[in-house]
């Protein structure tokens, strides 16, 4: 653990002594970057996120980004999907990254739309692209691909050129329309 631990991480560890947040830099080989990432278990994600949003030493009022990384065959990775929350405090001017790891067959994470409204489309995008479900999301539909699309294209086992979806488009003729 680095000596100059950010105040937000210290507050987090004080509030949730039972969770091992494993705080560490995002990029361990480039030490001048102060980008700190914590691990949060999925079952306690919502209360941790609410604490990060509300607490006076955290004040992460903005969910800057929410994305996912498929760690299939990644060196030394133990879990498959890492849902990554990029938090930003506008008033205190600091950032924190939080990762929540989930696995097949049913990757599911609680939705944070109740905390940050901006999470709405971001969670829909992660559902669309990775197939990670967000429990409690008000309207979890696909967003970038269409309703009938079967796959989750940003998964690592999905080929770059697709599985023939483009060739299998339904052709609409003037008679059938």
């Amino acid at each position: 653990m680095p000596a100059e631990q950010p105040a937000a991480v210290a507050a987090l560890a004080g509030q949730f002594p039972g969770i091992d947040f494993a705080p560490g830099p995002l990029n361990p080989e480039v030490p001048r970057l102060p980008q700190i990432c914590v691990r949060v278990p999925a079952e306690r994600l919502l209360e941790v996120m609410r604490f990060l949003h509300d607490h006076s030493r955290c004040r992460f009022q903005q969910l800057c980004d929410l994305t996912c990384v498929d760690y299939l065959n990644f060196p030394k990775a133990r879990d498959r999907y890492g849902v990554t929350y990029s938090l930003l405090s506008v008033s205190l001017g600091h950032r924190l990254w939080a990762k929540c790891f989930v696995n097949d067959p049913d990757p599911v994470v609680p939705s944070v739309v109740s905390i940050w409204k901006g999470a709405d489309w971001l969670e829909r995008e992660v559902w669309d692209m990775f197939g990670v479900r967000f429990a409690g999301h008000p309207d979890l539909r696909r967003i970038l691909t269409w309703e009938g699309f079967k796959a989750h294209p940003l998964r690592k086992d999905y080929p770059l050129r697709g599985r023939g979806e483009r060739e299998d488009y339904e052709v609409i003729t003037p008679e059938s329309a």
Binding site: N27, S86, V90, W116, L144, L160
Partner: protein, 422 residues
């Protein structure tokens, strides 16, 4: 700090429920192909007469898998794809992409490269705002207000063509440097734009719109979003600053020439003001964009006379950057170096790790979240697209307004579908 005439919170649109309309609700599709959407977006509007009761947004018509491509192209190749994201200001995307790459690699670019990148980043901001403002006027029927800024935009295209050979799809940056150094005489052209072309163009434009009664009636109090809502919805850039959010990455997390000591000679960072309005409506966004362009030109004028000498690429012997073409064609070492860089099983390999790098672009925070597994392509190349995140509050902005205001709000958000859908 700049304030607008609409300092108090506007009264806001009248809101009433579907039950109160007596069930007589029209459903209207706006888009995916409609002149006022500019790009391929689709809104399903529920209307009571002309009043919007509900709005559902459908996007994804332009989804082309940019993030998947980012996992198969190396760090220099992917810059071509970033051109196609926000095609209104492609240079800004190039710079943001390689800013994130350089954070992942842990390299610091040269002072000359920083100065040139800052100048073109600000030119790109001007380029983007000129179009956004012109198109916002166009949607409200002010066709002349669309043509005035376009003359100035043409000159920015010429400046970009001179530095990189392409007007539109620039692909100018490389890891640790630039595609090529600027040609001699280029700063004079930039200065000509900043002193001769830009000021009259923008003041003409301003005379057409800022005190125009029709424009004011159509924009003030329309599409209001409060300071706290703007933060909670994730808004960044001019949209957030028009709601009074004091946030600009150039000040808060300074990079390039916005940071102090950027050239290693204790120079102070570029001096500029961050325009903020508390209006929160379409007019406030217009004013913030207008003021931001003038600040951008001030930044360029501070730098353009005094671009530091020296190489634009870092460490030519360290095999990170691509060699220059004259080295490739006229020396065996350069040719070997070039092959080592471009062959699919070679290339410079970053450390295993993750990095986030973000730039303040014209639409807001454009960030890239890169994950590297130690290969020459990124394991994950996430783009934080400002258009996508800014656009999701759209139903919140238009419900309760008239249908003609939908177009005004859409113009003020400056949604670029290629970046929205990636």
């Amino acid at each position: 700090m700049m304030t607008t005439a609409t300092d108090e919170r506007p009264a806001g649109p009248a809101t009433y429920t579907r039950e109160e309309t007596g069930g007589d609700v029209w459903v209207l599709n706006l888009g995916p192909q409609h002149p006022a959407t500019h790009t391929t977006l689709r809104h399903v509007l529920e209307l009571d007469g002309e009043r919007v009761l509900g709005c559902t947004v459908h996007i994804g018509y332009l989804h082309s898998g940019f993030e998947k491509l980012g996992e198969h192209l190396n760090y220099n190749q992917y810059v071509v794809v970033t051109d196609r994201m926000n095609y209104v200001s492609p240079m800004a995307n190039n710079i943001a992409w390689h800013h994130a790459c350089e954070r992942l690699f842990g390299i610091e670019i040269t002072a000359r490269c920083k100065a040139i990148r800052t100048i073109i980043a600000e030119l790109a901001r001007v380029q983007d705002h000129l179009l956004a403002l012109g198109a916002a006027g166009l949607d409200l029927g002010a066709l002349t207000a669309f043509f005035y800024p376009f003359n100035a935009r043409e000159e920015i295209y010429d400046i970009f063509e001179e530095i990189c050979g392409a007007r539109f799809t620039t692909s100018y940056t490389r890891v640790g440097g630039l595609m090529q150094d600027m040609p001699p005489g280029w700063p004079a052209k930039v200065k000509h734009f900043c002193t001769k072309t830009f000021p009259p163009a923008v003041s003409d434009f301003e005379k057409l719109l800022t005190r125009n009664r029709i424009f004011l009636e159509r924009t003030r109090g329309i599409g209001y979003i409060s300071h706290d809502d703007a933060i909670n919805w994730g808004l960044t850039g001019p949209l957030a600053r028009a709601s009074g959010v004091r946030r600009d990455l150039r000040k808060d997390e300074p990079y390039l020439c916005y940071a102090d000591n950027w050239d290693g000679k204790r120079s102070s960072g570029a001096a500029f003001k961050v325009p903020i309005s508390r209006g929160g409506d379409v007019f406030a966004r217009y004013l913030v964009r207008l003021a931001e362009m003038r600040e951008a030109v001030k930044i360029i004028m501070q730098l353009v006379d005094d671009i530091p000498e020296g190489p634009v690429d870092i460490l030519p012997n360290d095999k990170i950057t691509l060699p220059r073409k004259n080295e490739i064609y006229f020396s065996i070492e350069g040719l070997i170096h070039h092959f080592e860089q471009i062959m699919t099983n070679r290339g410079h390999k970053p450390p295993i790790g993750e990095a986030y790098g973000a730039n303040e672009t014209a639409n807001g925070e454009l960030g890239f979240y890169l994950v590297s597994d130690g290969n020459n392509t990124a394991y994950r190349a996430r783009c934080r697209p400002p258009s996508f995140i800014n656009y999701q509050c759209f139903p919140h902005l238009v419900v309760g307004h008239q249908i003609s205001d939908v177009v005004a709000v859409l113009g003020s958000l400056n949604i670029i579908a290629a970046e929205l859908d990636r």
